[in-house]
Amino acid sequence: MKSLVHMNPGDSGVIDLIDTGMRLYNRLASMGISDGTEIVVVLNKRNGPVVIDVDGNRFAVGRGMAEKIFFKEKKSGKDQNCCCG
């Protein structure tokens, strides 16, 4: 399993685990981010927030939060023609 902070721009993946308290879990869920959600990483610069694309919506996720979101690795950005990043 790989956490969101370790993903590269262009990578996509399906969320496998959100390792956080219930409040935050509910918060993310209400924004459309929960177990099984597919996301595409748009930007991931060192120290800055990770920008992700969820079903056409963009979110900036702080690094602390991003460390707690884990993925089943699917495909890397290099293998597909991703339009983002």
Binding site: M22, Y25, N26, D35, V42, P49, R58, F59, A60, V61
Partner: protein, 681 residues
């Protein structure tokens, strides 16, 4: 006329404010919810023989009471029981939006769904069958485009219809097994307090929102926890919040599948391209600083002539009204009206252009979608001192004028970050303090160090702001860290209409609230400076300036200054300095006019070059460099002006915080001034 109470609820960035503005026009009122710094917007219109009273709830993602906005919205719906709730949803983003819809429906309130931006949805190859959607969610659905005023009449018709017919509220069809547990928890709640026996409250327990726990006795809680434990072992989820989340998304997927006509296509539109530059690791900062520079310049370049215009207007108004009294018959009433009231009200209104311009600038940033990016770009830096990425902008505005900067802090969602920002912003040295620095620097500092000194003053202010922010966030504003998760809305063209409406109603709110407070303060100060009257007949042959000086010395404020003299002797000051400090607590620039009166100079003349040189001379004769440094530090760090006090009062919705700020900053300034004096003497 019969009244229909309507609330508008919806996610952020779905056009909720636009819809509200389109329905109510300028006929709206902006205020705050009691006890919190959440904006409350209300408007009234007449429609088909009814008075529609419409409340625009803050943009939220859920009713889980995660943020003050969510608490306010939930309480509004649960306690004020609106007759109809308009739930606006983005047609191109139905899945995400329906999450909130389900939570509203759980509360068993009459809802009409407004399917907004159907044009955008169609462009993205996404179409929804309104009737099927309405059937699936058991709720009336109206489609339209708020920005183009399409579908608004249908929407209001539907609201009236719901009010008149009072149809049964929708049933949210969660799975049987979850429903079983919801009923079980509900019956436990019923035995404790029938008021609490509601589906949605039972659901909050399953979700793990602990909002109602305090209201319940320990045995009841134990029973509920037992039920949840059973449910958890039954479903096998690690986090029990997951149960409701999965239930909801299963339902939503089903609803969307059954009511969509066309499949959604992914699009990486213009927004993605702009973001590549705006959020670029290298370019983001220059782009942001440039934007900020333009904004700052625009606000203060347009604001300054307007401010002067307002000031001139009040000067001539004062002169005009004053001329009603014949020469020599000037009475106390005249002085009160001209100096106290017109001077005081004018003092508020000169800020009005800045307030309006800052609100316009913020609305533009909000409407275009750039503001959300600003938070992202600056978060890394600002979070180090415990502030939000959005705190940066109001703090920079503080270099111009503290009042609009404090008002600008309302863009920060987190309560503690917003409070901390408001508390430290006055340390950012505003324009009104500059003349004092310039006067003292030119009097005491050799030319080649003048620029460096000025820069150091500003940096000392910034340093104090940073240190205080950090301390505040580690102590009193220790609220839980809100991990950054921000939606970045698609960039869009701002609507002039909605910018104007928002700016007008926010600005009006400021003027109404600040006006009374500042008027009161100006009258009090006028009294302090005017009474008791000195008998100038005792000093025959004095000039007008000398008479003013005698009056200043004789007045309450002069006496207070004398009383405070010992406190300022420690930094080489005297009663004149004490009295000028006292005046500067109203507005910083008054330091110069007060001290020039006390040096028996014409206060207006002191602003001119010749007068300024004379004043510098007097300063050099009376005080040392160390005292000048102490004065500078005091002016930089002491209590903000009265207008700032009023702004902080309005924005924090309390008397406590502006008072703490006023007293606290003055204490800090006093200590810093003494330390500064000791170092340089």
């Amino acid at each position: 006329m019969e009244k229909i109470k309507i609330a508008v609820a919806g996610n952020p960035n779905v056009g909720k404010s636009t819809l509200f503005n389109v329905i109510t026009g300028t006929n709206q009122h902006v205020g705050n919810y009691p006890g919190v710094t959440v904006e409350r917007k209300e408007g009234k219109i007449e429609f088909k023989g009814y008075e529609l009273s419409i409340t625009d709830l803050p943009g939220i993602y859920s009713m889980n009471a995660f943020s003050p906005e969510e608490v306010v919205s939930r309480n509004f719906i649960a306690q004020e029981k609106p007759d109809v709730i308009i739930n606006i949803v983005d047609a191109s983003n139905l899945e995400k939006n329906l999450y909130l819809t389900l939570q509203i429906l759980e509360m068993k309130v009459p809802v009409v769904l407004f399917l907004n931006m159907t044009d955008k949805a169609e462009k993205r190859g996404y179409a929804i069958d309104v009737e099927k959607l309405s059937f699936e969610v058991e709720t009336p659905v109206v489609k339209g485009i708020a920005r183009e005023k399409k579908g608004i009449n249908d929407l209001l018709d539907k609201c009236v219809e719901i009010f008149e017919k009072k149809p049964e509220t929708a049933n949210v069809p969660y799975s049987e097994r979850v429903n079983k547990y919801i009923s079980e928890i509900k019956s436990i709640l019923l035995s404790e307090n029938p008021e609490l026996a509601k589906d949605w409250r039972a659901i909050r327990f399953i979700e793990g929102s602990d909002i109602d726990r305090n209201a319940l006795s320990a045995p009841t809680l134990e029973k509920i926890d037992g039920v949840i434990k059973e449910l958890v072992s039954f479903t096998g989820h690690k986090i029990h919040s997951m149960i409701m989340v999965q239930e909801r998304y299963a339902l939503i997927k089903n609803v969307v599948r059954k009511s969509s006509v066309a499949e959604k296509k992914m699009d990486d539109s213009i927004s993605g391209k702009i973001d590549r530059i705006v959020l670029h690791p290298v370019f983001s900062m220059p782009v942001f600083l440039f934007t900020l520079f333009v904004l700052f310049q625009a606000v203060f370049m347009i604001g300054e002539p307007l401010e002067e215009l307002f000031a001139d207007f009040f000067d001539s108004l004062g002169g005009f009204i004053g001329s009603f009294w014949a020469e020599g018959s000037e009475s106390i009433i005249r002085d009160l009206i001209v100096e106290g009231i017109i001077g005081g009200v004018g003092g508020v209104l000169v800020f009005a252009p800045y307030i309006f311009l800052v609100f316009i600038a913020i609305s533009i940033l909000e409407d275009t979608g750039y503001l959300a990016r600003v938070a992202v770009i600056m978060d890394k830096w600002m979070s180090k001192i415990g502030l939000s990425g959005k705190s940066f902008m109001p703090m920079i505005l503080g270099f111009g004028c503290t009042v609009p900067a404090v008002m600008g802090a309302r863009i920060i969602e987190n309560k503690f970050e917003r409070l901390a920002t408001i508390m430290v912003t006055p340390f950012m040295s505003c324009g009104a303090r500059l003349p004092v620095y310039l006067l003292l620097i030119s009097a005491f500092i050799p030319l080649k160090f003048q620029a460096l000194t000025l820069l150091s003053i500003y940096l000392i202010g910034v340093a104090f702001a940073i240190i205080l922010a950090k301390i505040l966030r580690l102590t009193v504003f220790k609220g839980e860290e809100n991990p950054l998760i921000i939606e970045l809305p698609a960039y869009s063209k701002p609507s002039i209409r909605s910018i104007w409406i928002l700016t007008w109603s926010r600005g009006k709110h400021f003027l109404e609230k600040a006006g009374t407070l500042i008027l009161f303060a100006s009258i009090v100060l006028w009294v302090l400076n005017t009474f008791p009257k000195a008998d100038t007949d005792l000093f025959p042959g004095v000039t007008e300036q000398e008479a003013a000086m005698i009056q200043a010395e004789h007045s309450f404020s002069g006496r207070i200054g004398k009383g405070l003299e010992p406190a300022f002797e420690i930094m080489g000051g005297d009663w004149k300095i004490a009295s000028a400090f006292l005046a500067s607590l109203t507005a910083k620039e008054l330091f110069i006019s007060q001290i020039s009166i006390l040096f028996a100079m014409d206060a207006d003349e002191a602003e001119e070059e010749e007068g300024s040189l004379l004043l510098q001379q007097k300063f050099k004769e009376s005080y040392s460099l160390a005292t000048a440094i102490a004065i500078i530090l005091f002016i930089l760090l002491a209590a903000p002006c009265i207008a700032t006090f009023a702004a902080v009062k309005i924005e924090t919705n309390s008397w406590f915080w502006p008072t703490v700020q006023y007293v606290g900053m003055t204490a800090i300034a006093y200590i810093a001034a003494i330390i500064g004096y000791l170092i340089f003497s």
